[in-house]
């Protein structure tokens, strides 16, 4: 008899275990199918930064350096330059001619986003930055910039008549 | 006979304006025929100390707006100073609502010259300047003729009226800046600089034009002096109320039947001036408000107007006698528009030297223009009052105060009109309130 009991007990245990399996098979999956399918992100997920553009395609960044000042891991490097009428890159008087983020060091804390007075730098949802070569982890402005809105032209060439300084 | 600015009123006490209306009243002969230069001769006789004490007794107070006792001002000028002393007439009459000095200069310029000569004796000065408002272009030509006549007839120059007294008078035209009516800005402008007020102390009496002791008074103040010397300070003081000697030229404008310049003794009842001297309000409309002494004075409501027009009574009522420019506003007046008009003037005239006045007037003008258009919230009305108070007493010179005081009073006393305007525009669906 003990044998039979043992068999029944085992069968019951298997049935119990399989019942979970079968039940879950019918429920919708909660696992991301990454990399076969794109992963889902919460809205506020802090991924690879995106440098935003305004509605005209101008870069929002005016190279104020506040993000780099706020950065606890000092991973943002900026060089500023002046917008000129023939070559207008950003909405302000100044734009970032160089904007590098070193993802070897970035801790994705979001302080840069908080510091930004023009909402230029934001966290995107990109995360696939693993690399065998650390040099490729220094992202340049071109890699960070949001795509141009359709029809926009940057640098903008302004050909307007000079306006007098009246009042 | 020349056509006067306005018909004189029988209720007037005509002292300074007694020659107004005489034929060729601006000519030396007319002046001499009506007692001219008697005061000057008497002043030479009695000497500086006596002159100053007579002026003190007369309780004459500066007619330019601030109302500082004239005799005291004269006594501050050091007579034995190594530098020359200057007599300067402030004829930069630019206060909106005020138009008395032009009449004094136009119809009785010798009275002014005689007043200057007496002041010259009082502080031992040999040079006088008349700083005439730039917009009074015609008066400059007129005064040039007068001064020329005075020189050619020996009433100015090395030997005034044969008495051996030496005095020269120069005319100087302003360039259209209200700010240059402020005495120290006037001095800067006179010296050829940008008309910006100076730091006080030192006061002009000690260090004025070209760092020399300078006696600076309004046209009307100087014009009153010959009468004081001739008839005695006591007599002049008796015309007015205690501490407020004499008469003054009140320029009544606005909603009255007979606007004009009237010479009334100090302490004259304001309502009587409006309803009897100036002939009352057209169409029998009701009085709404009065600006008692030029646009820089706080506005009085109709109910507050039952008072005597002297420096102290008006101060008690929370306003000022100012420069005598009385603006009467009847019930049809839009007080928001009035506040805007006043602020627009001060914004245009602010010299830009100090921050509160430069920025405050511009900001307030923009806000008042917006409120006048009915755009805004009740909080904006509070902000107008608050900004004006922030200007008050903190500016470099009195221009900031002049802009703030009427605005504060209008916002406080006629707040309902601001609100009504906002409401009506909101009701019309034009804007949203709140």
């Amino acid at each position: 008899m003990p044998k039979i009991n043992e068999i029944i007990g085992s069968a019951a245990a298997i049935a119990k275990g399989m019942s979970v399996t079968f039940r879950e098979m019918l429920n919708p999956s909660i696992t991301d199918l990454y990399p076969d399918a794109p992963p889902l992100f919460e809205e506020r997920y802090r991924g690879v930064h995106v440098l935003q553009r305004d509605e005209n395609g101008m870069e929002k960044c005016v190279a104020c350096f506040l993000c780099s000042a706020a950065c606890p891991s000092e991973c943002i490097y900026i060089e500023a330059a002046e917008n000129t009428d023939p070559k207008r890159i950003s909405g302000g008087e100044r734009y970032a001619s160089v904007y590098n983020i070193d993802y070897n060091r970035c801790i994705f804390c979001g302080y840069c986003v908080e510091a930004c007075p023009t909402d230029a730098i934001t966290h995107g949802h990109g995360f696939e930055i693993a690399s065998y070569n650390t040099a490729t982890l220094i992202y340049r402005k071109e890699q960070l910039l949001a795509p141009l809105p359709p029809g926009a032209q940057v640098p903008l060439v302004v050909n307007e008549e000079p306006v007098g300084a009246g009042h | 006979m020349k056509i006067l600015y306005n018909e004189p009123s029988p209720l007037e006490t005509r002292v300074l304006s007694r020659r107004f209306g005489l034929e060729n009243s601006e000519r030396l002969d007319t002046y001499l025929a009506t007692g001219g230069f008697e005061a000057f001769r008497k002043a030479l006789e009695i000497g500086p100390d006596q002159i100053i004490s007579e002026v003190k007794t007369s309780a004459l107070r500066g007619r330019g707006g601030a109302g500082f006792p004239t005799g005291m001002k004269w006594s501050f000028v050091p007579r034995n100073h190594p530098k020359p002393r200057y007599i300067i007439v402030n004829a930069d009459e630019s206060e909106p609502g005020t138009c008395k000095d032009r009449l004094l200069m136009e119809y009785d310029p010798y009275q002014l010259l005689e007043g200057m000569l007496i002041a010259g004796i009082a502080v031992d000065s040999r040079k006088g300047y008349i700083y005439v408002r730039g917009e009074y272009r015609y008066l400059i030509t007129h005064l040039e003729r007068v001064v020329e006549e005075a020189y050619s007839r020996g009433y100015l120059g090395k030997n005034v009226a044969g008495t051996g007294f030496e005095f020269d008078v120069y005319l100087h035209s302003g360039a259209g800046a209200y700010e240059c009516g402020e005495e120290t800005a006037l001095l800067d402008s006179l010296e050829g600089k940008r008309g910006i007020p100076r730091m006080k102390p030192p006061f002009p009496a000690v260090s004025g034009a070209w760092q020399s002791p300078t006696l600076l008074n309004n046209v009307e103040t100087f014009s009153a002096v010959p009468h004081i010397i001739l008839n005695g300070g006591q007599w002049f003081a008796g015309l007015g109320t205690p501490k407020n000697g004499g008469t003054r030229l009140v320029c009544i404008s606005g909603h009255v039947n007979k606007p004009g310049v009237y010479e009334l003794p100090l302490g004259y009842p304001m309502l009587k001036a409006i309803y009897e001297v100036a002939g009352g309000i057209p169409g029998g409309r009701k009085l709404k408000a009065v600006i008692p002494g030029g646009s820089s004075c706080p506005v009085l409501r109709a109910a507050e107007c039952d008072l005597a027009m002297d420096y102290d009574s008006l101060a008690k009522a929370g306003s000022m006698l100012g420069s005598g420019g009385m603006v009467v506003m009847d019930e049809t007046t839009d007080m928001v528009r009035a506040a805007l008009r006043i602020m627009a003037f001060y914004q245009h005239e602010s010299c830009g030297w100090c921050i509160p006045c430069r920025e405050g007037t511009a900001w307030l003008r923009k806000m008042l223009a917006r409120l006048d258009a009915g755009i805004g919230t009740p909080a904006d009305i509070d902000l107008v009052g608050e900004l004006s108070k922030n200007m008050l007493g903190r500016t470099f010179c009195a221009l900031g105060d002049a802009a703030a005081m009427p605005t504060i009073s209008i916002v406080e006393k006629f707040r309902d009109e601001f609100e009504a305007k906002l409401q009506s525009y909101a009701a019309a669906g034009l804007v949203q309130v709140g």
Partner: protein, 702 residues
């Protein structure tokens, strides 16, 4: 001792000098009264109304910046009313201020920002349209952004009162009033940038620094300007191996807030693309880049070879190299090569002055003396052009203390505006004119005499004799041209003088050749030129001489070189320099330029390669030796180490005269030129006034 008064500030009893300004008294007590328009040393304005305080018995708030303290005054600086007033002033100021701090160059070091943080409102109640005017460019170095301007009039005052140029004024009135150049739409001035520096906000910005970086992104290195001899302190802002700006950020040193166009903008030669970055060796008639070791070895071998066969070696030294380098070079020449053929371009006759003073130690003026002296006499120099700091000091002295200045020059100079007497003197007749001032000068309580290169040799002796005969204390400044002209002669870079003005005979040597003699000596074997350009206007007689050049730029002399060592500029090295008044100050290394080495390193490495032991070639060690060995250089180390200026007093006995008139000549650099350095500074050559002209300014009478 001035009369003291007792007053009460915020409840505390305070003693202060009668008539002192309340704002200064409070500052000394550690109580801050905020202000924009108040600036120490400039005329009072009371325009910004930030400094309002409560004073008992006065009905209105009083501006602390114009209120003299008086006995029994009771002042309150910390009451709700005052807080309210400050808040409202800032609110008014910010009404039309554009709030473009993120792009404004001043952001991070802006007084308006600081004040708003400390005293201002959190948010703006100004909802109207802001008054806007487009930005204007007034000169290559000065830009003006009207909306940011708070009209504190500091720029107008520093230009008029401080520099004496009067290039700025105020136009319009009310809210549209604006600062404007006197010449309509552009500046014609000294381009000194003092207006930019003094601007509390970002209204005036520098064309060189504009939109380049932010203040906190730079390393700020306080060093000494390498152009003229005045020795102004300058703070270099360095980022990524590049100098981005220069200003005397902490207003320390002998120049306070002052810097001229060269100090403020003339630093760009450092990052010039034309800098020599590699040693060069002439091979087959052409200069080819080689390694340092190859170049050093070549020079060392040549020198050793010439030394062994008793050949002739000459050294032409620099006016810009540090004292340590100069000292080490003369040691290399004298000890290493037993040669006294060492000289530099001398621009003033300091040697005769020191000889004529015959050991007096109190007769050399410092820069500070020029601000304190009751009277001064300027002979044969266009001070505002050639010695801008000294001019600034004299002018400030006149403004603040009504000091009396006498001028004897061959043409109009700016000091004539405030001089009590100014005489015209043809070159060579200056002393006659000075003699005619004898009566005036002898009535002065004291005098500082500044003289240019026209007074040399016997004339210096006659001038000192004249000074002695006045019967009043007289101090002298022998005007020189370059940043270390004084240090060069002090360190014995002369054929007849050892460091400290000791005769070469003391070292058992014969005097060597001067520059002219070296250039004319056809049998010269080696000529080593350090940071100088003697071949610009001369030719080298010795066709076959081996020429070694330490240079930053491949100018005329470098083109003739057989070996070129790329040298570091003064901004790339440690060390000390001595200014025109003999004040020793330390250089701080601000950056490293790829490929260049300091001259000290080059000398040390060559000596090592030659197998000569001249001691360590670290600046600190050499300076220690200088302090030990060079007469008058035993200066206080702490003073120098903390960025101060310590005057060297090289006077304790007569020195041998070696003056030969034709050897001493100023280069006549103006405010906008600076020898070779100036040629390679685009900033300097870009201004309208470049190259400038001596004796052409300040013609107007006051």
């Amino acid at each position: 001792m001035a009369e003291l008064v007792t007053l009460t500030i915020d409840g505390a009893q305070v003693q202060a000098e009668k008539g002192a300004l309340l704002i200064d008294v409070c500052k000394a007590r550690g109580i801050e009264i905020p202000a924009f328009c108040y600036y120490e040393g400039l005329a009072l304005q009371a325009a910004c109304r930030m400094c309002l305080v409560e004073v008992e018995k006065m009905p209105k708030l009083q501006p602390g910046c114009t209120l003299p303290v008086a006995e029994g005054m009771v002042v309150k600086t910390d009451t709700p009313v005052i807080h309210e007033a400050r808040k409202s002033m800032l609110e008014f100021l910010l009404a039309n201020h554009p709030l473009d701090c993120p792009v404004c160059d001043k952001g991070g070091e802006c007084e308006l920002q600081d004040m708003t943080f400390r005293y201002g409102l959190g948010e703006s109640r100004f909802l109207e349209n802001k008054h806007h005017v487009d930005e204007q460019q007034w000169s290559p170095v000065v830009f003006f952004d009207r909306p940011r301007c708070i009209l504190c009039y500091r720029c107008v005052r520093i230009c008029d009162e401080g520099v004496g140029v009067d290039a700025l004024g105020v136009v319009q009135r009310g809210v549209v009033s604006a600062i404007a150049p006197s010449h309509g739409d552009h500046l014609e001035c000294d381009e000194c940038g003092m207006c930019i520096d003094i601007c509390p906000v970002g209204a005036l910005t520098s064309g060189m620094y504009r939109y380049k970086t932010r203040p906190w992104e730079m390393n700020h290195v306080g060093t000494i300007c390498t152009h003229c001899s005045n020795g102004c302190k300058t703070t270099l802002g360095v980022r990524g191996g590049q100098v981005i700006r220069a200003n005397n950020r902490d207003h320390s040193g002998i120049n306070g807030e002052f810097l001229c166009v060269k100090g403020r903008f003339g630093w760009d030669f450092v990052n010039s693309t034309e800098r020599a970055q590699s040693p060069m060796l002439r091979t087959n008639g052409r200069l080819e880049p080689v390694s340092w070791s190859r170049a050093l070895m070549t020079v060392a071998r040549k020198l050793n070879e010439v030394k062994q066969r008793g050949g002739r070696v000459g050294f032409i030294a620099s006016n810009h190299t540090s004292n340590e380098e100069n000292y080490y070079l003369q040691k290399l020449a004298r000890q290493g090569l037993r040669s006294n053929n060492i000289d530099h371009h001398r621009t003033g006759d300091v040697v005769t002055l020191i000889d004529a003073l015959a050991g007096r130690t109190d007769a050399l003026a410092t820069v500070a003396d020029l601000y304190a002296a009751k009277a001064s006499l300027v002979i044969a120099s266009d001070l505002a052009q050639q010695q801008p700091l000294l001019h600034f000091q004299l002018r400030a002295n006149w403004r603040h203390h009504r000091s009396r200045t006498y001028v004897v020059t061959p043409g109009p100079v700016r000091e004539r505006k405030f001089a009590v007497k100014s005489l015209h003197a043809e070159p060579g007749r200056e002393l006659d004119a000075v003699e005619s001032l004898r009566d005036d000068l002898s009535k002065e309580p004291e005098l500082v005499i500044l003289f240019g290169d026209a007074i040399q040799g016997d004339a210096v002796r006659r001038l000192v004799a004249f000074g002695d005969s006045l019967g009043i204390p007289v101090k002298y400044v022998c005007l020189l041209d370059y940043s270390n002209s004084r240090g060069a002669i002090d360190m014995g870079l002369a054929p007849g003088l050892l460091p400290g003005y000791r005769p070469v005979a003391e070292a058992g040597l014969e005097p060597g050749m001067t520059i002219a003699e070296m250039l004319a000596d056809a049998s010269l074997d080696v000529l080593w030129v350090v940071g100088a350009n003697p071949l610009r206007n001369a030719r080298l007689a010795a066709e076959n001489a081996f020429v070694v050049v330490n240079e930053m730029f491949l100018a005329e002399t470098a083109q003739r070189a057989d070996v070129i060592f790329p040298a570091a500029s003064a901004y790339e090295k440690e060390g000390t320099v001595t200014n025109v008044c003999g004040e020793v100050q330390s250089l701080k290394k601000a950056l490293k330029v790829m490929g260049a080495k300091t001259d000290l390193e080059i000398f040390g490495l060559v000596a090592a390669e030659m197998g000569i032991d001249l001691g360590p070639f670290q600046p600190g060690a050499v300076f220690e030796e200088i302090r030990r060995e060079v007469r008058g250089y035993n200066v206080s180390l702490p003073v120098i180490a903390t960025g101060g200026a310590a005057q060297s007093v090289p006077l304790n006995g007569r020195v041998p005269a070696l003056t030969r008139a034709e050897l001493i000549q100023s280069a006549r650099d103006t405010l906008f030129t600076s020898g070779t350095l100036g040629r390679y500074s685009k900033n300097l050559t870009s201004v309208l006034e470049h190259p400038g002209k001596l004796y052409a300014s300040g013609i107007e009478t006051p």
